[in-house]
């Protein structure tokens, strides 16, 4: 492969990684919001923590892509839809679905250590190492980098990427506690926010915390976590916008949500392609602002639904400005 092609291949792999991280976020968000508090507080916090780290992973991968002279792409054409096979060669399908035992099992399967995703991230590190030997790889504009100012709620920090060491470190953070965890996923019961995602879902699945003395390959034996799979909004799984009758309350809320989601993605793209400060607007305005609409949908029954289900946002690209109408 020519050098130019190799660089393109690296860019393409990093873009795939961005889409992978992005596509995990709506399913986690829907599950968290479907959980009624206070019954499932601890479990909700665990999933919320994972969801926030997926956002951080997206930021870290974007830093690497920007550092090696690539361009992040986020748009209608690569918007994730559900059900979705998150990764080629993986049979696990992610849904937009309420909190349930089955759902947590899916999340566990997806976040399982030592999978094709592990190999995928290992492959990115190999490409970085190889290309760094044969060319000036880190040609990106350093002002595109996101840094720790942009992430304040989770257990890790965003690092700016400027060279091979920082690029490898960024990818290792992504792979170390996320779905790309390798042979030795992070097992740190003393600092739960550093635990590999798989273990955090296992804690919910088994309804117990891990103890530092536990064997990571066995179920946890620590303190019980109260879990109530019935304390959940009965939302429609993988909803479609066409499923909400035009002009109905749910259709309006869904449009409002999607319009805000789209605006947030546009701002995210802007933030990842040269104007990092826009990320603040995306977070505080777009992301935080969308929660109340999603919750209202989940509390609103679908008229005439025989199973008594409630609404759920569809996460579509919607450029029409509908907020406030």
């Amino acid at each position: 492969m020519a050098k130019k092609d190799k660089r393109s291949a690296l860019h393409a792999a990093l873009q795939t990684a961005i889409e992978l991280e992005w596509s995990t976020i709506p399913p986690y968000m829907v599950t968290v919001l479907s959980m009624k508090l206070t019954a499932n507080r601890q479990a909700a916090n665990l999933i919320r923590g994972v969801m926030m780290e997926e956002m951080m992973h997206l930021a870290l991968v974007a830093n690497v892509l920007n550092a090696v002279g690539g361009t992040v792409h986020i748009g209608a054409d690569n918007l994730p839809s559900y059900p979705r096979k998150l990764f080629k060669g993986r049979s696990v399908e992610m849904d937009l679905a309420p909190f349930s035992k089955k759902n947590i099992e899916t999340f566990m399967k997806f976040e399982q250590p030592k999978t094709t995703i592990t190999e995928f991230y290992a492959g990115i590190i190999e490409m970085l190492e190889e290309l760094n030997k044969s060319m000036t790889l880190f040609t990106g504009d350093p002002t595109y980098q996101l840094y720790d100012d942009y992430y304040w709620g989770g257990g890790s920090q965003i690092i700016p990427v400027t060279d091979l060491d920082s690029a490898k470190k960024a990818i290792e953070i992504v792979a170390g506690n996320g779905e790309g965890a390798g042979a030795n996923p992070s097992f740190t019961p003393d600092t739960p926010l550093r635990m590999a995602h798989y273990y955090r879902f296992a804690e919910i699945h088994y309804g117990r915390r891990y103890k530092p003395t536990d064997n990571p390959s066995k179920p946890p034996t620590g303190e019980e976590i109260p879990i109530d799979y019935k304390a959940v909004h009965p939302i429609k799984v993988n909803p479609k916008a066409s499923g909400y009758k035009a002009g109905s309350k749910l259709a309006k809320l869904n449009d409002a949500f999607n319009s805000r989601y789209t605006m947030m993605l546009r701002q995210l793209l802007q933030a990842l392609t040269g104007e990092p400060k826009v990320l603040y607007t995306a977070i505080m305005n777009g992301m935080h602002g969308s929660t109340s609409t999603a919750l209202e949908m989940m509390e609103t029954p679908i008229p005439g639904d025989r199973e008594g289900r409630t609404g759920c946002p569809t996460f579509d690209w919607l450029d029409k400005a509908v907020i406030g109408k």
């Binding site: 508090l37 100012d149 304040w152 709620g153 926010l193 603040y280 505080m284």
Partner: protein, 537 residues
């Protein structure tokens, strides 16, 4: 209705105290009554409107100005102070809202100095505090963690046992001329500690400061606002028995016996319904004006002059800080300095020392020193590049801001007016006559500023200070702490003298104010009160 703890007011005192009580006993029944309403924080619509129009988003939280001809207004100001245009203006100086005045504060977070606890002993003014700096020091550390203060931990005057949670903001470019001049004159200065969250490895729900320069309404919640932290208590912790009611005015405290509070009588301002609430203990945290007014309204056979007012101290000794702006100008501005941050980074506490205490300690703040010139306006007016450069390198107005300690006088006080304001609360009568010595002191401070301006190569304007605001922002001392009940209203544990279960916390309990902003101290007092109540069980 019966609760364990009833808190009147929902500002930083209520928030910090509630946090401390619930950490200790998560099932405790706490009811917080707030007369005002909730205003949205971190809202981009409000923020953008503020950015575009420059209009502060707060007027709805404010008292109306004092009445004028053709303008009914609210509250009354009597005494010689009524001649000072800005004397004890309530309008703009406090916020009646969920989260209290932290909705509108600037975030300056100074500690008192050890000598500030011994004003009476050292100068004969006011009263000593019932405890010393060392007693409060650990609580200052907790308060600074809570308020998310960015400050210079190397500064050890007053001494500190723990670093600030976030490092100091660097001095801005415009601090240089004044810093250099102060250094030449031997006037020390430091980084101004400020409650704006920084970056740290500790996860937080609150975002770090991004220096947008729009601190008056932070779009991210990086500047501490108690409302955001009260939201945390309500939304993120599953305290089953925490309740907050908005739009509820407490009319009086009901006493079961001389020593025991039974609860309160309150009024829902939306419905006009009046009802009673029983409580095992009542904590008044309604600010320097409303707290004493409530005690004064709470009359009974046992307390004919109002609860805690047998010695006629409730509402008296009212003080605030005169806030002075001294103006001047520099003949030229070759480095084209423009005000950058919209918050100050340099403060001199050189005159905040025992030596200055008898005459009134003061601090000088560089905020803002060099006035921004609107390059955009000049461009719109069609100025050429050369002309704009001439303007911004030419003569430029400068200023220094100051706050000075003034001493409480018995005659200066707040009482109830038999009239209701637009929040549904009884209005205030403020009796205020400024101390002549304080007015002279303000002129004396001008001489120090003049030396600094001249050292900078500038001139000091005639008629300084150009602004001499006695607004109520830092009002204090209306329910003083005292060891002896005859001198004050509450004891060192903040319990109203002569009662068992009635407490009062706020700037009102300060026997004196010093020359610095009161919020760091009041937050420390709230945590200390929490520990006291937790220990009492």
């Amino acid at each position: 209705m019966k609760v364990d703890t009833l808190i009147i007011g929902s500002g930083v005192v209520a928030t910090a105290l509630t946090k401390r009580l619930l950490e200790h006993k998560p099932n405790m029944t706490i009811l917080i009554l707030e007369a005002g309403q909730r205003y949205k924080t971190k809202d981009f619509g409000i923020w953008e409107n503020f950015q575009v129009t420059g209009d502060y988003p707060y007027p709805q939280m404010f008292d109306l100005p004092y009445p004028e001809r053709d303008k009914p207004g609210e509250n009354r100001l009597v005494g010689e102070g009524a001649q000072i245009p800005t004397a004890f203006t309530l309008n703009g100086g406090r916020a009646l809202a969920y989260g209290g005045s932290t909705n509108i504060w600037g975030g300056w977070t100074f500690r008192r100095k050890p000598e500030d606890f011994y004003l009476k002993t050292l100068t004969g003014h006011a009263l000593d505090w019932p405890f010393d700096y060392d007693t409060l020091e650990p609580y200052y550390c907790q308060a600074e963690d809570y308020l998310a203060v960015s400050g210079d931990s190397k500064v050890q005057d007053p001494p500190r046992s723990k670093p600030y949670p976030f490092h100091e903001f660097p001095y801005s470019y415009v601090d240089q001329p004044v810093g250099k001049a102060m250094a030449k004159l031997g006037i020390s200065y430091d980084h101004l500690p400020i409650a704006r969250r920084g970056v740290s490895a500790i996860p937080s729900k609150h975002a770090p400061c991004q220096v947008t320069g729009t601190c008056d309404y932070c779009p991210f919640g990086a500047r501490f606002v108690a409302a955001d932290y009260m939201d945390d208590l309500r939304k993120w912790h599953d305290y089953p028995n925490l309740e907050i009611r908005l739009g509820v005015v407490v009319m009086s405290i009901r006493m079961a016996t001389k020593r025991r509070a039974a609860g309160v009588v309150c009024r829902d301002t939306a419905t006009g319904d009046q009802y009673t609430i029983d409580a095992d203990r009542v904590i008044v945290a309604a600010g320097t004006f409303e707290s004493p007014k409530l005690l004064l309204r709470s009359r009974s056979r046992e307390w004919p002059n109002g609860v805690g007012n047998d010695s006629d101290n409730v509402g008296r000794y009212l003080i605030t800080h005169p806030y002075m702006i001294y103006a001047g100008s520099l003949p030229e501005n070759p480095d084209k300095m423009q005000w950058e941050l919209n918050f100050p980074t340099l403060v001199s506490r050189y005159f905040d020392t025992p030596k200055e205490q008898a005459k009134g300690k003061f601090v000088l703040v560089n905020a803002p020193n060099i006035e921004a010139q609107s390059i955009a306006q000049m461009m719109q007016a069609g100025y050429s590049n050369a002309k704009i450069n001439r303007v911004i390198t030419g003569a430029v107005p400068i200023s220094l801001h100051g706050m000075v300690e003034i001493f409480g006088q018995y005659e200066n006080r707040v009482t109830n007016l038999d009239k209701t304001n637009h929040f549904g609360m009884p209005e205030s009568v403020i009796h205020f006559t400024p101390d002549r010595a304080a007015l002279e002191r303000i002129q004396e401070i001008g001489k120090v500023v003049k030396r600094i301006f001249e050292q900078m190569g500038g001139t000091y304007a005639d008629g300084n200070p150009s602004v001499n605001s006695w607004r109520c922002d830092h009002a204090a001392s209306t329910c003083r702490m005292s060891k002896d009940p005859k001198d004050g209203v509450v004891d060192g544990d903040l319990r109203v003298h002569g009662t068992d279960n009635l407490y009062l916390c706020g700037n009102a309990v300060y026997p004196n104010l010093g020359s610095i902003n009161p919020t760091d101290t009041v937050t420390a007092l709230a945590f200390r009160l929490g520990d006291h109540l937790n220990a009492a069980g």
